[in-house]
């Protein structure tokens, strides 16, 4: 792997640009992605290279953006649609879930809908209740969609390239708080299959399954507890949530005998449930030495006040506390 370090946002831009150079049927549409460069600066410079036809500013019309992407995808192009905040996908979720995701199946297999909906997710920016959600569980509950959420620049680039090449609608959830984080990303061509999770840290006492911006947070706590208490924590990042690399998780739990799932999304109805059900309805159940712990966002809208906001989701402190509960 090259030593070059770039940010998560750069990695995403690079993935899009490489794919747009490689394949003329790929194009990009969304609000303010052109001269403005996107609300988070992800697409800065792209309109200069690809022009306003392929880097296409849209009106503020999320349903039409997603629906038009679906229609364009079904008729021979490969759209990348950016939704400015993932919270707004709901406005177009009918087009995503009832049209894009179902077309192939309900038409009996003759439709192919290769599109990516990219959108930033998560809290921590002081943007409050309607700009801070993590709704991956919704998308995972729609057969026909794939759902990806990278936690590193390396994963972001490889997964996004794979998502763009995938022949299915993919929801690609980016992490606002990771956009400016740097990490090693090779210059050359690579993709990461949309079916493989990644063990971000090996361990033998406890399996923590987590994704998105919780990954670096959990890794930090794991390092700390390794140093302070010699705990050996395995951190599994599914990267792609749908389809889920269940075997990777099951194998890890069989190895460690203990499991915890950490996510930022609100707890009730969150995707931790899916993962815990997967573990507890598998052979891993017989290896469990303790209840399967779930640490997730509180069941509240994200509040504005920074201190409240920080505590609405898992923190290094609550992660540590829960680990200690399980391991002590």
């Amino acid at each position: 792997m090259s030593e070059r370090e770039i940010t998560y946002a750069d990695a995403i831009r690079e993935a899009m640009s490489e794919e747009m150079r490689r394949d003329p049927s790929v194009f990009f549409m969304g609000e303010d992605i052109g001269v403005y460069g996107g609300a988070f600066g992800v697409s800065v410079g792209m309109i200069e290279e690809f022009g306003p036809e392929r880097v296409r500013d849209t009106p503020i019309s999320e349903a039409a953006i997603i629906g038009a992407a679906a229609g364009a995808a079904a008729t021979g192009t490969r759209p990348i649609a950016e939704i400015q905040f993932s919270d707004f996908i709901g406005i177009g979720i009918d087009q995503l879930g009832n049209q894009a995701a179902k077309m192939r199946y309900m038409f009996g297999g003759h439709a192919t809908v290769p599109m990516v909906v990219r959108a930033p997710a998560g809290s921590g920016t002081g943007a409050a209740a309607q700009h801070s959600q993590s709704q991956e569980a919704w998308y995972c509950h729609i057969p026909g969609l794939k759902v990806v959420t990278p936690s590193t620049p390396y994963d972001a680039k490889g997964l996004l390239k794979a998502a763009i090449r995938d022949d299915n609608p993919v929801v690609f959830l980016e992490q606002k708080l990771l956009y400016r984080k740097k990490g090693p990303v090779p210059e050359g061509e690579y993709t990461i299959p949309l079916s493989k999770g990644d063990i971000k840290r090996e361990g033998k006492d406890l399996t923590i399954v987590t994704w998105g911006r919780m990954v670096p947070m959990v890794l930090d706590v794991a390092e700390k507890l390794a140093a302070e208490r010699n705990y050996s924590i395995e951190v599994v990042d599914p990267r792609t949530l749908m389809p889920l690399d269940a075997q990777l998780i099951i194998d890890s739990v069989i190895k460690t005998g203990r499991a915890m799932v950490v996510h930022e999304a609100v707890k009730t109805g969150g995707y931790a449930g899916e993962i815990i059900a997967t573990i507890c309805d598998s052979e891993a159940f017989f290896y469990l030495d303790a209840p399967v712990r779930r640490l997730a966002g509180l069941d509240v809208p994200i509040p504005y006040n920074p201190e409240l906001e920080r505590n609405a989701v898992p923190t290094p402190e609550t992660i540590e506390k829960n680990i200690l509960d399980l391991l002590d």
Binding site: R56, A64, G67, A70, G71, A73, T77, G109, H110
Partner: protein
């Protein structure tokens, strides 16, 4: 080939006229068969018949060219027959057979054949409008001289997707003909109660595009208008057509017709587009009564053949249940 030229009537070959006429007959007879099946409990689910509205479906699509796209609605049998799709897989789909267009997985509300430019009937009122818009974008991005015809109803015109799509198509000059089949009701809701305007073509003003309101029961008016619109959209962007028509049958399987009068229905039956076209063809001696009867017999026979094909086709196999959720 004999040609018939008269003021206000299009310049159509005998073959074309015969094709349009027989497609109206196919539609009517197809649906009468479907109604019969339903009354006998031979089909499950529900269906929406376009009996009385054949002219708008068949006339509009007759004005398209090879390679143009079409998006249908839940009331889509006429659209499907108009687009030239084979009657056999269509009937097979209604009976849920594996030889159906959707392998029996879509049914009446999801008939589609993307490979033939048919973007699908749609179970979501207004759901197909963004899809068609995206097809227009796809065509435009490839620089093709192709048009998209997007059908929807007077009920759908109040959905957000109508507005977002027409606005988007208007700013991007997409080659989409938006054709509203105003059959006066969205289920039980009179268009007069669902909107505050009598003339729905006024809605074109919002998008700075042409909008016309036409007699949707006159197949030639529909044909000519769509011909004109097609020329327009290829050069100057979208076009809105409101075709005034009427559905003779209930909204769907179960409908007590409490929201309208017998009188109203009977008045519209006098404008039935099929006898109307027949009169035209007969009066102008394009076809003799005997020839017209022969066409009608052929229509009946072809539908019977489709029924036979559908009846004797195999059911889906159990694996079909899980196939084609994802591509690749």
């Amino acid at each position: 080939m004999t040609k018939e030229k008269r003021a206000g009537k299009p310049d159509l070959s005998v073959d074309k006229l015969q094709d349009m006429y027989i497609k109206m007959l196919y539609t009517r007879k197809f649906e009468e068969k479907v109604a019969y099946f339903f009354s006998r409990g031979m089909v499950h689910g529900t269906t929406h018949l376009c009996i009385g509205q054949e002219a708008s479906a068949i006339g509009a699509i007759a004005a398209l060219e090879e390679g143009d796209w079409m998006a249908a609605t839940h009331r889509g049998h006429g659209h499907t027959i108009g687009k030239g799709l084979d009657l056999k897989p269509m009937m097979a789909e209604l009976l849920g057979k594996s030889t159906g267009f959707c392998r029996g997985k879509g049914g009446s509300m999801h008939i589609a054949d993307i490979t033939k430019g048919h973007l699908g009937a749609n179970g979501i009122v207004g759901g197909g409008i963004p899809i068609a818009t995206g097809a227009g974008l796809s065509v435009k991005l490839r620089g093709e001289e192709k048009a998209v015809l997007c059908f929807f109803g007077d009920g759908a015109i109040n959905q957000g997707t109508f507005h977002e799509s027409l606005n988007m198509a208007s700013v991007w000059n997409l080659p989409v003909i938006y054709l509203c089949e105003n059959n006066q009701y969205g289920m039980s809701m009179s268009q007069k109660r669902a909107t505050n305007v009598d003339d729905l073509s006024l809605r074109a003003h919002s998008y700075g595009i042409p909008g016309v309101r036409i007699d949707g029961n006159d197949i030639f008016t529909v044909y000519e208008t769509v011909k004109t619109a097609r020329e327009h959209v290829l050069k100057q962007g979208p076009y809105l057509i409101i075709a005034e028509t009427y559905r003779f049958m209930g909204h769907s399987k179960s409908d007590a017709n409490k929201y309208r009068t017998k009188d109203e229905i009977n008045q519209w039956k006098e404008k039935d587009p099929i006898p109307r076209m027949r009169r035209y063809l007969e009066e102008r001696k394009i076809f003799s009564a005997a020839e017209l009867d022969a066409i009608e017999q052929k229509a009946t026979a072809d539908i019977e053949e489709a029924v036979e094909y559908a009846r004797t086709s195999p059911d889906p196999v159990p694996e079909d249940l899980i196939n084609d959720v994802y591509a690749g």
